[in-house]
């Protein structure tokens, strides 16, 4: 499942155009009908992302609902991101990477100790960034669910082996989504340096929104 589709939207027409530094959190409202683009500026940068219903944040992106409805664990053009209530939240309308992960979740200080050893406990991690972004929105840890990892490559074999391997992305690759409802986008620009999910080198991303 891979659908390389470029966008016709022009950067100068965007109503929002920001760069999120390596390792930073970011959040913003995306209104129904608006389009959000995430650009992997330097390549192989995992962008951990959760969407919440703006009207009721207890409705949030659901990995199982999303992968079951499209019968595929990878996201690309045409994928509909579904909520815990099974509703369409956003639809991917352009994608020049071709594959995005739904299985790997976000890194945390705690899971890092298991995966990489207790000497990684104090390293920066997506859990910290998510909690900071959510705290500013009056939300917290109970709102953390399995997230999307844009630009991250997590193949799963028929025998069940799962691994986080070198990215399929490249500098300038982007993914673009049209919102099907008013959503809050919450992002952790992943700071992980203990595996290849960011090409061993976390880098900035650009985010654009169009009306």
């Amino acid at each position: 499942m891979s659908a390389f589709v470029e966008s016709a939207l022009r950067r100068e027409d965007a109503v929002l155009d920001v760069v999120v530094s390596a390792g930073d959190p970011w959040s913003h409202l995306v209104g129904k009908g608006q389009t959000i683009r995430i650009v992997d500026l330097e390549g192989n940068q995992a962008v951990d992302t959760i969407f919440y219903g703006a009207a009721d944040t207890s409705e949030r992106y659901s990995a199982p609902e999303t992968i079951r409805a499209q019968n595929n664990i990878f996201l690309t053009t045409g994928s509909v991101l579904r909520s815990s209530e099974g509703r369409a939240m956003l639809t991917i309308v352009a994608d020049t990477c071709g594959r995005h992960d739904t299985s790997g979740g976000a890194c945390s200080a705690e899971s890092n100790t298991c995966r990489f050893g207790h000497d990684t406990l104090s390293m920066h991690n997506c859990r910290d960034s998510f909690l900071l972004a959510l705290a500013r929105l009056g939300m917290g840890k109970r709102d953390l669910v399995s997230n999307i990892n844009f630009f991250m490559n997590v193949p799963v074999t028929e025998t069940g082996h799962l691994d986080i391997v070198d990215g399929v992305s490249r500098p300038g690759a982007y993914v673009e989504m049209r919102a099907d409802m008013d959503v809050l986008a919450v992002i952790s620009n992943c700071p992980q340096i203990n595996n290849p999910c960011n090409g061993w080198n976390p880098t900035p991303i650009r985010i654009l929104i169009w009306d």
Binding site: M1, S58, E59, S62, A63, P64, E65, I67, R68, N71, N72, I73, F74, S84, E85, G86, R99, S103, G104, G105, A106, S108, A109, E110, S111, N112, T113, C114, R115, G117, H118, K141, R142, D143, L144, V145, S146, N147, V156, T157, E158, T159, G160, H161, L162, D163, I164
Partner: protein, 241 residues
Amino acid sequence: MSAVDPSTVLCDETIPGGAYWTRVIRRHTTLRIVDLEGSRGVSCLCYNADDPVERYNAADTVKIQNMIFVTAGRVLFSDMGRVLFSITEDTSGHHDTLAGCSTPETNRARYGEGDYQHLRNDRHRDGRTNFLYALGRHGLGPRDVMPNLNFFTRVRVAAGGALEWIDGCEKPGAFIDLRAEMNVLVALSNTPHPLHPSPTYDPKPIRLLVWRSPLPGVDDRCRTFCEEAGRGFRNTDALFP
């Protein structure tokens, strides 16, 4: 079936198809779930009973162990790098970590209408609603519903990422043993897996047995399965000095 000493049994219940079940499983006691008549799947969520903001995390479970299939020797991780349950025995061998639970919409699409007004207590119950029934009794709600685990079902990922339902996991008598490594609040929904192909709504009863199981030794299979799990047990044991 590995025998359980009757004098150690704390709970022995059979629940019908469609039912939910919730209980706290104390550290170092074991929950056995038995497929009595060919299960269509049993959906499961679990939490640290002493602090339920810590909960089963499917992504961490598959990522830390590099494996989407969990069976004997593997563990279920919380989102705090700790072990909720060790799988100490498993005569089914097939459990799904990816595809989630049934919902009112998936039931309606596959089985048609099945409401209480028409079917009374044979109504078509679903995982999503059953989890809210079960969790609500502990003061938990929609924000606490995470991607769940499904027992007695197999969903494979094909090359290219497609989900593939694998038939033939219904095995009367098969069971899985889950040894609690902390005090675990468990919520089960005995409702058909959303990908189970049966065109009729026919969930089967399961037996739930909880007993005081032997304490894990230093050579315990789950504790020694891999370095990653070993570090998870180190994190877990620190809760119980």
